[in-house]
Symmetry: C2
Subunit: 247 residues, 2 copies
């Protein structure tokens, strides 16, 4: 259990509301949702492949990832999660986990019982749509990663990933002046991009040499967003961030 800077429910409400405007009543119902907080150290499995969870989780602080292993033991990270994300919302309707979720950094995670989510969805059909939409955005991100891993060079892939994380962190207010905390090792970047850790090292050096990113410890900053975007062939369409027309 950990102390939180603000109520965990608020983060979820703000995120759902930002892309799917909610009524006061719906916000109130979400506010009532029981969320069990838990502090988790880095590199711990949170849900494992093959399990049948009775709850879904909500990332509050830190980073997590979804991954699978090949028979040779090589790991593919299929998604990175930032605060506000619900990595295994899918388990609400897919009984058995087909991937594992693990912490990347130390983090705070909230757990919500499926039972409670189901009741909420029954009573507020528009919330069903909001949660459904969240899982659809996840799917869209998987698609973009497929394009990334299948067709782009290591250099472009890396630039693309940095762009994505920047934008997603910006959406939850965790970016200041094009700079953000990102405690991720090169080995994990390698697993996310489908290259080796050695090649991640060389690729990051190239990006730094080209002035596209700057790194100090776990802090990443982007000196020239336009050039990084271009290098990463990044178009934020697939994140489906703005639904409100004209927003």
């Amino acid at each position: 259990m950990a102390l939180m800077p603000h109520q965990p429910n608020d983060l979820m409400i703000r995120k759902l509301d930002s892309i799917f405007p909610l009524s006061d009543e719906e916000r109130g119902a979400l506010q009532q949702l029981p969320i069990l907080l838990k502090g988790i150290k880095a590199d711990r499995e949170i849900v494992g492949i093959g399990e049948r969870p009775a709850q879904s989780c909500l990332i509050l602080e830190g980073f997590t990832c979804a991954y699978k292993l090949s028979h040779l033991g090589k790991r593919q990270i299929m998604a990175l999660h930032v605060p506000g994300d619900m990595p295994d919302l899918q388990s609400l309707h897919l009984a058995v986990m087909d991937m594992s979720i693990a912490s990347i950094s130390s983090c705070t995670v909230g757990f919500i019982q499926h039972e409670d989510l189901r009741r909420l969805c029954e009573q507020h059909p528009r919330l069903t749509a909001a949660f459904w939409r969240e899982t659809l955005v996840d799917a869209s991100i998987y698609r973009e990663w497929l394009l990334n891993v299948g067709q782009r060079s290591a250099y472009t892939r890396m630039a693309h990933l940095v762009c994505e994380i920047l934008i997603r962190l910006k959406a939850v207010g965790l970016v200041e002046k094009w700079s953000f905390q990102w405690p991720i090792t090169q080995e994990k970047l390698a697993d996310a991009l489908g290259i080796t850790a050695v090649h991640v090292s060389r690729t990051l050096q190239a990006l730094r040499a080209d002035g596209l990113i700057r790194m100090e410890k776990t802090q990443v900053s982007v000196p020239d967003w336009e050039r990084l975007k271009e290098a990463g062939e990044f178009d934020p369409l697939y994140l489906h961030l703005q639904v409100r027309k004209g927003a």
Copy 2:
């Protein structure tokens, strides 16, 4: 417009029912759903990236794919669709298409208005769950493809893809004696696996030489399922086919 061997609604109902048992009332409601049939030639775009469709489609005969292009014009196919699939159900909640859908072979496609789907979901909340679940299985397949493209050799990837298509076709009764129609060119296989068409040719030769697949024209057959499964590191868990316990 094309003649169909049976009502298009039946195919959808059978598929939803197989993993998410429906009541008679729900089946009746689905039966009423207006579906507009259309025959489509091979290699035609059905929905384009950036569009805002007011309908979703249902594949009835033939094959389609979802794809995106990199800036260099390289194409990544992110999913293959077989009869019974609804490739752009996501557009019900994500206004703008983030990928394109195109026919791979000549095919018959049914179109369902979002308006009608929304009304159906409002009146039958359990159908909402059934459709939601369909999109979650799509997402699970994207994840498996990420593992495939990111971590496995061309040989393993190809074997895995053949396994997946076989199982999915089997589920809709389109496989007979480990053999099925699969009118797909090597160039499209290349785009789906993230390798070149030349390498697809060599990889298929290797699989044939090893006795894992046999091919005549557009017919593929699998002489030894167990060995192909092993070669492709294939575990059907991610397709989430059996929900009914003990089925």
